[in-house]
C-alpha cells in the first residue's frame, strides 16, 4: 500500500546479516555480573550507605542500558519513536520519584 512509503525511514531498509547469539550471551553475562556486584555490595556491607545506594542505582541503570540496547534492539535503527516514548516515560518517572523522596515527608 502506498501510504506506508514514508514509513520506510522507520524500518530497517538494509537487510543485515543474521545475527549470532554471541552478543546476547555477552549481554547476559554483563547483566548477571552487574546484579552480582550490587548483591555483593549489600551483603558485604560496612561501606558508607550513600555510596552503596550509588553503586546499586548505578548497576541497575547500567543493566537496563545493556538490556535495552541488546535485547530490546533499542540501538538498532528505526526505533526513534520507541526511544522517545521510553525516554519520556523515564522523565516522568524521574519527577515522580523525586517527589516521593523529597517532598512527601519533608
Amino acid at each position: 500500500m502506498a501510504s506506508n512509503n514514508h514509513s520506510a525511514t522507520e524500518q530497517n531498509t538494509k537487510r543485515h546479516k543474521v545475527e549470532g547469539p554471541k552478543k546476547h550471551i555477552v549481554a547476559f553475562i554483563f547483566s548477571i555480573l552487574l546484579t552480582f556486584i550490587a548483591f555483593a555490595t549489600v551483603i558485604g556491607g560496612e561501606i558508607n550507605k550513600d555510596f552503596i545506594y550509588i553503586i546499586l542505582l548505578g548497576t541497575a541503570v547500567l543493566q537496563v542500558f545493556v538490556q535495552m540496547a541488546f535485547w530490546m534492539h533499542m540501538k538498532d535503527r528505526g526505533h526513534r519513536f520507541a526511544l522517545i516514548g521510553i525516554l519520556t516515560g523515564v522523565f516522568v518517572v524521574f519527577t515522580c520519584v523525586i517527589m516521593a523522596e523529597y517532598w512527601v515527608w519533608w
Binding site: 500500500m1 501510504s3 506506508n4 514509513s7 522507520e10 524500518q11 530497517n12 537487510r15 543485515h16 543474521v18 545475527e19 547469539p21 546476547h24 550471551i25 549481554a27 547476559f28 547483566s31 548477571i32 546484579t35 550490587a38 548483591f39 555490595t41 549489600v42 551483603i43 550507605k49 552503596i52 545506594y53 546499586l56 542505582l57 548497576t59 541497575a60 543493566q63 537496563v64 538490556q67 535495552m68 541488546f70 535485547w71 530490546m72 528505526g78 526505533h79 519513536f81 520507541a82 516514548g85 521510553i86 519520556t88 516515560g89 523515564v90 516522568v92 518517572v93 524521574f94 515522580c96 520519584v97 517527589m99 516521593a100 523522596e101 512527601v104 515527608w105
Partner: protein, 205 residues
C-alpha cells in the same frame, strides 16, 4: 493491511515488520511500554514514600531473604535471554526452535512465579500481611503488579505457542511473538529495579 500480498513460506528477514499492521503493533507496543514505565514509576514512588512506615509490622531488613530473591532474579534474567534466542530463531525462520525457546521462557517464568508466591506466603507467616502497614501495602502492590505482569506474560506466550503450532510463523503471528518478547524484556527490566530498590536497598540500614 497488505497481509495478503506475502506468500506463505517466503517470510522476510524481520517478519514482524513486514506489514503495516505489524509495524503499527510494534510501535504501539513500544509506546504502551512507555506508559507502563510511568505506571511502575508511580508505584515505585509510592513505595519509596511509604517504605519506612512499618508500624508494628516487620521491617524490610528483617523480612527479606536476599539469596532467594537473587535466585529468582537469575531465573528471570535467564528467561529474558531465552526469549531473545526465541526471537533470533524467528528471524532465522526456525519455527521449531522458536517454539522450544518460548517453552523454556515460559517454564522459567513459572519458576519465578512459584518462588514469588512462596516468598509472599512466607512473609504473611512473618506477620507481614497486605493490610499490616503502609509499607506492606505498597510492597505487595508494587511487587504484586509485577507478578501479575509475569502471570499475564506466561499466559500470553503460552497462547502464542499454541497459535504458532497451529498456524505456523506468518506475518500475522510474527509481530505477536516479537511484541511478547519485548514485553518479557520489559518485565525483566522492571524486576532489576525492584530487586535493587526494594530488596537490596531494603537491606541497607
Amino acid at each position: 493491511m497488505s497481509a495478503h500480498t506475502h506468500v506463505e513460506g517466503q517470510l522476510p528477514h524481520e517478519p514482524e515488520k513486514a506489514t503495516l499492521e505489524g509495524r503499527n503493533k510494534v510501535l504501539g507496543f513500544w509506546l504502551f511500554l512507555g506508559g507502563e514505565t510511568v505506571l511502575f514509576g508511580t508505584l515505585f514512588a509510592a513505595f519509596l514514600a511509604l517504605r519506612h512506615q512499618v508500624l508494628d509490622g516487620p521491617t524490610a531488613n528483617h523480612l527479606f531473604d536476599l539469596k532467594l530473591v537473587a535466585f529468582a532474579t537469575a531465573i528471570l534474567l535467564t528467561s529474558s535471554l531465552t526469549s531473545v534466542f526465541a526471537i533470533q530463531a524467528m528471524h532465522q525462520q526456525k519455527v521449531k526452535s522458536l517454539i522450544n525457546w518460548l517453552i523454556v521462557t515460559v517454564l522459567l517464568g513459572v519458576g519465578f512465579l512459584i518462588l514469588e508466591i512462596y516468598e509472599f506466603v512466607h512473609y504473611v507467616g512473618e506477620g507481614h500481611g497486605f493490610t499490616t502497614s503502609a509499607f506492606s501495602s505498597s510492597f505487595y502492590t508494587l511487587v504484586g503488579f509485577h507478578g501479575a505482569h509475569v502471570l499475564f506474560g506466561i499466559m500470553w506466550i503460552t497462547l502464542l505457542i499454541i497459535q504458532l503450532k497451529r498456524k505456523g510463523l506468518t506475518v500475522v503471528t510474527a509481530p505477536k511473538v516479537y511484541v511478547a518478547g519485548m514485553y518479557w524484556h520489559f518485565i525483566d527490566v522492571v524486576w532489576v529495579f525492584i530487586f535493587t530498590v526494594v530488596y537490596l536497598m531494603g537491606k541497607v540500614v
